[in-house]
């Protein structure tokens, strides 16, 4: 049986503070030993990235706007990826995380088909690094081999290290994910959603909170805060043509 824990790790992402710098993407890549995305992967649409910044256009020149949103595994409470795995390689652990067991995964990719957020990445190639670059690989994180699925673990290695170091005295904010740490503007907050006094819990109750695809009832552990735009639906000096298709 699963040992009971009262934690539910989650994240709040304030899209109003996300400036699209992609520092989180690079930090995640280094922390989690994500293989190099060479030009070929970009051209073939096979970029491996546990967190990505999506950029959406709005309006037309000169009143054009770009919106940014970081997307990673949403660690859904009702995760569509979990029941479809024939080998239980993905399951929900007792800390609210959707976990991927690499040595169970047989690469059916059913989970990727089931994931509406498209955050599960399949290793089409054996990951390789030149010997020199291997020096900076993180020994806390397994290198995934060809043929298996991987995705954001919410830096489980940092959670484990933090829990071990702190024992029963784990404080809110003590564990930081790599993306959170790299986010200069403080758009990402990580913590225990079961702790009503944690920063992440307080932010998750904001008036600006929303989830991705709530209609699917996946109940994600990643909560977004809406972007604020004082000029929403307003164009100052309407010189732009309307978007007539």
């Amino acid at each position: 049986m699963v040992a009971e824990k009262n934690r539910s790790w989650g994240m709040v992402i304030d899209t109003d503070k996300c400036n699209g710098c992609s520092g989180c993407v690079t930090a995640c890549q280094v922390e989690n030993n994500i293989p190099l995305n060479d030009q070929n992967k970009f051209e073939r649409g096979r970029v491996m990235s546990w967190i990505r910044i999506e950029r959406y256009w709005e309006g037309e020149f000169p009143n054009v706007k770009a919106r940014f949103i970081p997307i990673m595994c949403q660690h859904c409470e009702n995760a569509p990826c979990e029941p479809v795995c024939p080998v239980y390689a993905t399951y929900h652990n007792n800390e609210g995380l959707n976990v991927q067991v690499y040595n169970r995964c047989v690469g059916t990719r059913y989970c990727a088909n089931g994931c509406p957020y498209i955050v599960r990445m399949f290793n089409y190639w054996e990951p390789t690094w030149p010997e020199e670059i291997r020096n900076h690989l993180n020994p806390d994180v397994t290198i995934r081999s060809r043929g298996i699925m991987e995705k954001c673990s919410m830096c489980m290695q940092r959670i484990k290290r933090g829990e071990r170091n702190a024992g029963d005295q784990l404080q809110d904010g003590e564990i930081k994910t790599a993306c959170q740490e790299a986010c200069t503007t403080g758009a990402i907050t990580f913590g225990d959603l079961n702790d009503p006094e944690s920063e992440v819990s307080i932010l998750a109750k904001s008036d600006r909170k929303y989830s991705l695809m709530p209609q699917l009832n996946t109940n994600p552990n990643v909560v977004y805060l809406a972007t604020v735009d004082p000029y929403k639906d307003k164009n100052l000096g309407e010189k732009a043509k309307t978007n007539e298709h």
Binding site: D38, R52, I69, Y91, P130
Partner: protein
């Protein structure tokens, strides 16, 4: 076992029925929760790691960083929350430094060219030392070149050049002389001020892409997060290019290149005319003008015609920044036209009108910090000075040039013919981590250390409003994995000049010993003796003292401004003609420094999401009219040369302007950079602002033609299918005070209306049209 068809069907039916019954029996929920019977590696691996505080000299802004070391190897970097410059913030490119250090193309052995016509070949350290000693002997005319920084390294560079009666020069590809000149003339300071964005209510910036990479992005990024926290600050930006800074502004104004100064003066015009600020501030401002007034022609209507920016935006911004604490600053392309000084000057003068100088939430003038053993320069020499210097080299008046940390041969425009100049220098000695075009043109190549292996000390640029000295300390050994053979630049120069005794380490120790003496038990480290003080400095990553500031009341303002507009782009409405304004911009690869770092190559640019290539951003409508499609190979030709790059039709570029990233196209680099993309810096015209001598790197005009052929654009955009959602989601946008739920309801209502509209007009599109190609009268357009 053989099963016939009948038995198979029977078994299948029973299995299905069994499965239904089994499911209906409702297995206790916990039994469905399956825990891995084996611990994952993440549960098991536990090394003992160490974190060291140091500063990042590669970025020149002196950010404090923490470095994670495990088993003698560097594993991770993060911003130092204790450091006053970046306060825990990290540049988006911070981790690139890992692969500058651990790189398969890193130099491990010195190289030597025995004659000018010979080839570069590996040599021993002893032979290299002998050649360097001969080339730098007393009597030799020596020039030392580094990137701009005020540091212990800068000090030794200057001292060494002086010891040989030579010169020290600083170089950066996208020169900012106009910024420094304008600041000096307005505020009589050589220091870039501290822009107190964190405490401002309103920010107005011009040209400077401060959110992505301008001067001190970690500092400004942290401040941006604070600006948007609590009572959300307002932010407007003026730039022809749609940079990340443009993308994050509340109001973006895209002027014809070179007309930014007109917008600043038009904003001033509105503020004065509508009396939006106290009269004494208006008088302060007007008294500095040549005729005591803003000349005719800066009203928003006229300026709209000249700049292409809607007058409504100018008026709105003027009204916004007149309320509360406001800050206005400029840099980047605004300062890089042939009228860049005028633009910069006009922009910074707005702070006087707004009463923002020396105030919280405004421009805080930084103290002039001078320290023994810290030298160099916080600004590069101007193009004019470089032209004079290269003429000296070309004429054979210089015996030896020592170059450290800059790639002159890659980043100077063709018109300067730096390679020709280097050929006429007797000995060129270059320090570098990996081969580049300058190293390739040198006579002695020295494998340089990285900042992870070296002692150092630096005055950050800009300071956080008070005195700060950052410490750089070695976090791994020089002969460690991946880095053996590196030679210290500072120690090499120290060994060559006996009058400057000691080592790099002792030099840094002296700097902080002096700080201990001057600290009077105040500041970030309080200790009873010098060694304890040094320990404290090593723990915190530097020493800073909040009580050492510039006296904001003694800021002297120049008596009169020179508001003579010498706008060379007055004909800039030739936007659909053959000539385009070329605006180069730096992103992840910098000025080519990170081109051989795979992490940097694959870090896609924020707006286009392009990587691994050189692309040209051209207005999408204009591209359409010219029949240009994404990935078309485009030839850009200027009076200084021609390059080829891939077309990226961009919805947010000023028509008539094209923007190209720097960093690619090196002819001599490593496996990740060589012969990849094109070098836009090469085709920049050698134009300068005649008032300052500053390089007008945003003033080049190019012709644009399809060169034939089309390639797949390596970009992230389109890698993931767009979400099948209605407008406004997933990036939900709310008005101030509106809840997410209200916005969702509003979006849903609009979407339903658009569906009804389409159905009543016979449009076949229905629900779930997720491609963003048509949302009726909505403007949502999704690109993923």
């Amino acid at each position: 076992m053989k099963i016939n068809r009948r038995e198979f069907l029977s078994l299948s039916g029973k299995s299905a029925a069994g499965a239904v019954i089994f499911a209906a029996c409702s297995i206790p929920e916990k039994e469905l929760i399956v825990q891995s019977p084996v611990d994952m590696p993440e549960d098991l691996v536990r090394g003992i790691d160490s974190w060291y505080a140091t500063s990042w000299s590669e970025g020149a802004s002196g950010d404090g960083v923490l470095v994670r070391i495990l088993e003698g190897r560097i594993k991770k970097l993060k911003g130092n929350p204790d450091h006053p410059v970046n306060r825990g913030g990290a540049r988006s490119n911070l981790d690139f430094a890992l692969q500058l250090h651990y790189n398969p193309d890193r130099l491990h052995k010195p190289k030597l060219r025995r004659s000018k016509d010979g080839i570069l070949a590996n040599t021993s350290v002893d032979e290299m030392d002998k050649y360097i000693k001969d080339a730098t002997a007393k009597g030799k005319k020596i020039v030392v070149v580094t990137n701009p920084s005020r540091s212990s390294e800068g000090w030794i560079s200057q001292k060494f050049a002086e010891s040989r009666g030579g010169r020290y020069l600083a170089y950066e590809a996208l020169d900012q002389t106009n910024l420094h000149e304008a600041l000096f003339e307005l505020f009589e300071t050589d220091e870039i001020p501290h822009f107190d964005i964190s405490h401002a209510d309103n920010v107005l910036s011009f040209g400077a892409d401060w959110i992505e990479n301008w001067i001190s992005p970690a500092q400004y990024g942290t401040a941006y997060g604070e600006l948007r926290s609590g009572t959300r600050g307002f932010f407007a930006h003026v730039e022809p290019r749609f940079s990340l800074t443009s993308a994050n502004s509340d109001i973006w104004m895209s002027p014809y290149p070179g007309t930014e100064g007109d917008i600043a003066l038009s904003i001033a015009n509105v503020i004065i005319k509508d009396k939006l600020v106290p009269e004494n501030q208006i008088n302060d401002f007007l008294n500095k003008l040549p005729n005591g007034k803003i000349e005719f022609g800066y009203n928003p209507e006229d300026v709209e015609k000249r700049t292409g920016v809607a007058k409504e935006k100018i008026i709105e911004v003027a009204h916004k920044i007149s309320k509360g604490k406001s800050i206005v600053f400029a840099g980047g392309s605004t300062a890089a036209y042939t009228n860049g000084k005028f633009n910069t000057y006009a922009v910074y003068s707005l702070n006087i009108l707004l009463g923002s100088v020396g105030k919280t939430g405004g421009i805080i003038i930084n103290p002039e910090v001078e320290k023994e053993y810290i030298g160099g320069s916080n600004q590069s020499n101007s193009l004019e000075q470089w032209q004079e210097e290269l003429a000296q080299w070309r004429a054979g008046y210089v015996d030896t040039v020592i170059i450290k940390g800059v790639d002159l041969a890659y980043s100077m425009p063709n018109s300067l013919d730096v390679l020709g100049a280097l050929k006429n220098v007797e000995t060129v000695i270059s320090f570098g981590n990996m081969m580049n075009e300058t190293l390739n043109a040198s006579d002695i190549v020295v494998p340089d250390t990285t900042f992870f292996e070296e002692w150092g000390s630096e005055i950050p640029n800009p300071l956080p409003g008070y005195m700060t000295v950052s410490l750089q300390q070695p976090v791994v050994v020089k002969d460690g994995p991946g880095a053996s053979g590196a030679v210290s630049y500072v120690d090499t120069l120290l060994n060559l000049e006996p009058s400057i005794s000691g080592s790099n380490k002792s030099l840094v120790k002296k700097i902080f010993d002096n700080e201990y003496t001057e600290s009077n038990s105040s500041g970030s480290v309080i200790a009873s003796d010098k060694n304890s003080f040094m320990n404290g400095v090593q723990q915190r990553g530097g020493y800073w003292n909040k009580s050492i500031t510039a006296d904001q009341k003694k800021i002297r303002l120049k008596n009169t401004f020179e508001f003579e507009n010498e706008n060379v782009f007055s004909n800039s409405d030739s936007s659909f003609g053959e000539e385009f304004h070329l605006i180069p911009f730096t992103n992840n690869l910098g000025d080519g420094k990170y081109a051989n770092v795979p992490l940097a190559q694959e870090a896609y640019e924020g707006i286009t999401t392009a990587a691994w290539e050189t692309w040209v951003e051209i207005n999408a409508q204009q591209a359409d009219q010219m029949g240009i499609k994404e990935g078309d190979i485009i030839s850009l030709k200027s009076d200084s040369g021609e390059i080829r790059c891939l077309a990226y039709p961009h919805p947010a570029v000023q028509p008539g302007t094209v923007c190209v990233p720097t960093g690619q196209g090196t002819e001599k680099g490593g496996r990740y950079s060589e012969n990849r993309g094109s070098n836009v810096l090469k085709i920049l015209s050698g134009l300068k602002d005649e008032k300052s001598g500053s390089f007008a790197w945003a003033s080049t005009k190019v012709s644009l033609k399809r060169a034939g052929g089309n390639k797949t654009m390596p970009k992230f955009e389109g890698d993931v299918t767009a979400f099948p959602v209605e407008p406004g989601i997933p990036v939900l946008v709310v008005k101030p005070g509106q809840t997410a739920h209200e916005a969702e309801e509003e979006n849903h209502h609009k979407y339903q209306e658009s569906i009804n509209f389409r159905e009543s007009h016979g449009d076949g599109h229905g629900h779930g049209d997720d491609h963003g190609d048509d949302h009726g009268d909505e403007k949502e357009k999704s690109s993923h």
